[in-house]
């Protein structure tokens, strides 16, 4: 378990927040994690919606998770189902969609559900970091 806390400095690394990256492709998780870690975020991974729900419900994550970056096409619980779950149970956590397939109808519907950004792969590191930074500003603190 990570020792990082939002907004704290630990061992010289700035920890700007805790991000959960949900994608079925290990390559994508690896490269998104790399980009966000370099920007000072603590990054957790989940390979599908089911694992993402497990992760957010475990230990301190239910309190400390700041932002989620979520794919749509995934096995088990897919992105749409996972997003519905998170919006219902963790409305304070901002969601960013990162998908390989641009679909205007789906983007509209997801943004209406409260998703803060809809990014289409391949997305540049700067854009991803900017989206995460915006999402961080929108997050609400966990209720005590």
């Amino acid at each position: 378990m990570s020792e990082f806390k939002s907004g704290f400095f630990v061992g010289g690394d700035a920890c700007n927040g805790r991000i959960l990256v949900v994608d079925d492709e290990p390559d994508i998780r690896k490269v998104v994690k790399m980009t966000l870690q370099k920007a000072g975020y603590d990054v957790l991974e989940a390979e599908n919606g089911e694992k993402a729900i497990e992760t957010i419900n475990s230990g301190e994550n239910r309190l400390l998770l700041d932002v989620m970056v979520c794919d749509i096409r995934m096995p088990k619980v897919n992105g749409i189902e996972a997003i519905a779950y998170f919006r219902q149970n963790y409305p304070r956590v901002p969601l960013i969609v990162l998908t390989g397939f641009p679909d205007t109808d789906m983007a509209t519907s997801l943004l209406r559900q409260g998703v803060v950004d809809y990014l289409v792969k391949p997305v540049e590191g700067e854009k991803l970091k900017a989206a995460v930074a915006r999402a961080m500003e929108q997050r609400e603190l966990a209720p005590l």
């Binding site: 492709e25 690896k30 490269v31 390989g100 679909d103």
Partner: protein, 381 residues
């Protein structure tokens, strides 16, 4: 499998709907399903074909698929004529003597495609007066229509394939954009990466990702191309099924699908490899679409004494018995408008009949479906 027996429906080589027990069906308790969609109570027109060259063969191929026609025999003065071999495969009687065939009591129409003027006199003197005779330019026009029909069938097959590729967009985008994300992320990192080992590893990852992406274009361009009409060869069926699996992944999500392969490694059939790939892609896509929310896809090939079998089974929603006939009809679809052409199974049936095979379906609503293709076994030399 539950206690109620799945039903078996088969379209035989003549396209006539009929029921028969299939050795390919894994369920011993299969109940034969009788269907009456085709007007089997109408007496078919009895036709004799004179000439078994290209014209005779083309006519034979087309006419034997029409339920309202019965070919009572074919003849040619050349015992090695290609149409005679085809007739034996189709179990159409080969009659050695012209006079014997044209004097057959039942014959209603004689099609003379020999182009041999000497035959005119024989027909005039020996043919039964109640039989109509089509010869000369009239039979030539008929042959041209048959060839035109065969061109249209090929066009239809290609059009349906291209329409299907439209549904690949999401899969292609997924398979191209994911490696691109990896490439972009790694390249951005390399801009300021100083650790030599990391640089080497990430450069290798980029090269591998580019290779994966080019494979997509290679697979799809080879699939989308127009299949050469007479490009027949011995097709290894199990390898073709594996290739079809790769293509079908673009059309449908394989998430939560277990794939079971039960292959007879040497199963092979003589046919057009492009068309067979198209058939398999279609069957696999249908099977996955029937299993919304997951299930098991089983691909099986088997060698029997006279035939080879290809089976595509799913544990999906199944097909109601009253639709067993309709699913092979053109433009039949259960998909929403714009999602399916309704030509998939119709084209599959056509391709398989061209290969002198049969396609059968066993299905139970809520349990799943099994599509069984039976092809003549080609003896390898």
């Amino acid at each position: 499998m539950n206690s109620s027996a799945p039903r078996l429906f088969e379209q035989d080589q003549a396209g006539r709907a009929g029921a028969r027990s299939s050795p390919a069906s894994p369920e011993k308790d299969s109940v034969n399903y009788m269907t009456t969609t085709h007007p089997t109570d109408v007496t078919p027109t009895k036709i004799a074909i004179l000439g078994a060259g290209r014209g005779g063969t083309a006519l034979l191929d087309l006419l034997h698929q029409i339920p309202a026609i019965e070919i009572i025999g074919i003849t040619d003065c050349n015992p090695g004529a290609p149409g005679l071999k085809r007739a034996r495969e189709l179990r159409v009687p080969v009659v050695p003597q012209v006079t014997e065939l044209i004097q057959n009591h039942g014959v209603q129409l004689i099609l003379d495609v020999t182009g041999d003027p000497a035959l005119g006199a024989i027909l005039r003197s020996h043919a039964r007066p109640e039989a109509d005779v089509l010869s000369g330019s009239a039979s030539r026009i008929l042959w041209e229509l048959v060839q035109h029909e065969s061109t249209l069938q090929a066009e239809l097959l290609h059009a349906e394939k291209l329409a299907g590729i439209g549904s690949f967009a999401a899969g292609i985008a997924h398979d191209i954009n994911n490696p691109l994300q990896l490439i972009l992320g790694l390249a951005e990192n390399l801009e300021d990466e100083t650790d030599l080992e990391t640089i080497h590893a990430q450069a290798a990852d980029i090269i591998a990702a580019v290779k994966r992406t080019t494979a997509i274009c290679r697979d799809l361009t080879s699939y989308a191309r127009r299949s050469a009409a007479h490009n027949h060869s011995l097709v290894p069926l199990s390898a073709r099924l594996d290739e079809a699996l790769k293509i079908a992944r673009y059309a449908v999500g394989f998430h939560d699908i277990d794939i079971v392969k039960r292959y007879a490694p040497d199963a092979a059939a003589s046919g057009n490899p492009d068309e067979l790939l198209h058939v398999f892609v279609n069957l696999i896509t249908n099977a996955i679409q029937a299993m919304d929310g997951g299930g098991t896809l089983t691909l099986r090939t088997a060698i029997e004494p006279d035939t080879v079998i290809v089976q595509v089974s799913d544990t999906g929603c199944g097909i109601p018995p009253d639709l067993f006939n309709a699913i092979f009809e053109p433009f039949f679809t259960t998909k929403p408008p714009g999602k399916g052409t309704g030509l998939g199974l119709y084209n599959i049936k056509h391709v398989i009949h061209q290969m002198h095979g049969t396609i059968a379906v066993t299905s139970e609503v809520g349990i799943g479906s099994i599509f069984t293709i039976t092809l003549p076994r080609t003896v390898q030399t």
